[in-house]
């Protein structure tokens, strides 16, 4: 169907408006980070870089940043191992309960975050508590890894669907053992998908707040620090700076994941939500 001229203009208009809607709040936060005043009033009267140095020197912000990075690294490492293993199993074998695995991997992000959070909290308090475990970095990592697995899994399994099984057969025919085939044939083909999955998983963990509130106890990741500080009006200028930083810090890995997972010219199907790219 060839759209009429009027339809095209209307569609362009709609697209423009929706894009403006999508970017307005991000722009607003970006501008407020440079607001000299403590009160959050529009329009901004004076711009300054003052709050950037204040934020950088804030001890709580630094600690929170450190914890966030550690948690994201830990969760990503676990998710890479578990997600890759699960995707190798599902992609190569047909077995009883395969669909269940697919479902179980997706469940942690399909159910509302508050359910996952509450469930983990109840477990930490009732089961792990008596065993001597308590809230902290390890419980944050466990919570994050559980829903980061799906991101790695989705990226790696999508890549495997495009791979040619014949390459691995050729490798075996030429005398390579299972490990050599994986090391020299399979892994190089999965490498960028793994990197993309890892970057997305890092971004997901770095931003997470809904579940983290339940699993962090008194520890503060960067998003938790933001959440706790929102109720203190005098600190809002620092929150604005941190908010801008957090947006930039999560968008950069996503941008690279996009480029990595693509592979020039291969793209036909549009990107599903949890994959960097098909």
């Amino acid at each position: 169907m060839v759209e009429s001229r009027l339809t095209r203009v209307l569609l362009q208009l709609g697209t423009g408006l929706t894009l403006a809607f999508i970017y307005l709040p991000l722009l607003v936060i970006g501008l407020y980070a440079f607001n000299r005043n403590v009160t959050q009033k529009w329009p901004i009267e004076q711009y300054s870089l003052k709050w950037f140095s204040v934020a950088w020197e804030n001890e709580a912000v630094r600690d929170a940043l450190k914890l966030s990075v550690l948690a994201a690294l830990g969760a990503t490492a676990i998710a890479l191992v578990l997600g890759t293993l699960a995707s190798l199993a599902v992609a190569r074998y047909s077995f009883f309960g395969r669909e269940v695995i697919t479902f179980a991997v997706i469940l942690p992000i399909a159910l509302p975050g508050i359910v996952t959070g509450l469930a983990l909290q109840a477990t930490i308090v009732d089961i792990l508590g008596p065993l001597g475990f308590s809230f902290g970095l390890s419980t944050i990592i466990v919570g994050h890894a559980t829903f980061c697995v799906v991101v790695v899994y989705n990226n790696v399994i999508a890549r495997q669907r495009r791979l040619l099984g014949s390459l691995e057969e050729a490798s075996a025919d030429l005398g390579a053992d299972t490990w050599q085939t994986f090391r020299y044939v399979t892994f190089p083909q999965l490498r960028t998908a793994l990197l993309a999955g890892g970057l997305l998983s890092f971004a997901l963990s770095f931003d997470e707040v809904v579940v983290t509130i339940f699993t962090s106890g008194s520890e503060e990741t960067l998003p938790i620090w933001i959440f706790a500080t929102l109720s203190r009006p005098a600190q809002l200028p620092i929150v604005n700076v941190v908010a801008l930083f957090v947006i930039v810090a999560s968008v950069i890995p996503v941008y690279f994941a996009q480029r990595l997972a693509g592979g020039a010219g291969l793209r036909r199907r549009p990107a599903p939500l949890l994959q960097a790219r098909p």
Partner: protein, 288 residues
């Protein structure tokens, strides 16, 4: 060929595909079952525990009182129905906003523009959700942009209201709706639209009778996100309005009454599962 221990091990494994499968599957399966499903089971049990009405301590004895309390207290029912209505309204608003841009991306834009637009929609999706909700609080506040714009017209808008929350939710989940609809529209073969035109179908008729029915599963796929994410959210309602929703109630009472909170958590669980089942019927999963 190398004939070390590694070679022998891999030869051993080569003959045993079942064992290889379990070596791959064991760890992730154990993690999901023990950590995740295990926690859900703990939550399930918690919903049947008793609370000492005097001290507020959780007593580990079986009772159905928590569910009874939720079924019989009007407040809980009001909160549940308000939340479901909100989720439905957010979904409708997102469909309306998402369709034009998705259509433009899929069928009008050049491949280059299309790629740029996909990235333009995808990047904000991954920007911190708490920050986006906070940004809306700033925008909707008394001295914020919305009221600054309306002020010269002699109008005002109470942003910290149900309407303000509706706007915020619509914003937060919009990319989740755009991408599946775009994917669904892109999959429609051009030949179908040409056939419709050849048979005398005008643009509007083609849109209604060919495009909409074919894009419907994709719309349902997007709605899984907009609907389910609204249902359990407690951060955005807490930031924007004092009105209570399912998420905020669970969050607020979990300290004093974990069993009641756990029982109330069954409302979003049941609704989400029901929604997923209907969505699967409507073939939405293939568009996910």
């Amino acid at each position: 060929m190398r004939a070390g221990g590694g070679g022998r091990l891999s030869a051993f494994l080569f003959r045993r595909p079942r064992l290889r499968l379990w070596l791959l599957l064991g760890l992730p399966l154990a993690w999901l079952v023990v950590v995740y499903l295990g926690s859900l089971v703990v939550l399930l049990f918690a919903a049947f525990w008793d609370t000492d009405s005097f001290t507020g301590q959780v007593i580990h004895t079986f009772t159905l009182e928590n569910f009874q309390e939720i079924g019989e207290t009007p407040v809980y029912r009001d909160v549940a129905s308000r939340t479901i209505q909100m989720a439905a309204m957010v979904t409708v608003a997102d469909v309306v906003l998402a369709f034009p841009i998705a259509y433009y991306m899929a069928r009008v834009a050049s491949p280059r523009t299309r790629n740029l637009l996909v990235i333009a929609v995808l990047m904000p999706l991954w920007a911190n959700y708490l920050v986006k909700a906070y940004s809306w609080r700033t925008i909707l506040s008394e001295g914020g942009i919305v009221n600054w714009t309306l002020d010269p017209l002699g109008l005002g808008f109470d942003g910290f209201s149900t309407a303000g929350l509706w706007l915020t939710f619509t914003y937060l989940w919009l990319p989740f709706m755009i991408l599946p609809i775009y994917a669904g529209l892109e999959r429609i073969p051009d030949s179908l639209l040409e056939a419709s035109a050849d048979l005398g179908g005008r643009s509007l008729a083609t849109f209604r009778k060919v495009i909409l029915p074919l894009a419907f599963p994709a719309v349902v796929a997007g709605s899984i996100f907009t609907f389910c994410l609204t249902l359990g959210d407690y951060i955005a309602p807490g930031l924007i309005t004092s009105e209570q929703f399912v998420g905020t109630v669970i969050y607020n009472i979990r300290g004093q009454a974990l069993p009641t909170a756990a029982a109330f958590a069954f409302v979003p669980i049941v609704v989400v599962i029901a929604y997923l089942l209907v969505a699967r019927r409507l073939r939405a999963f293939e568009s996910l």
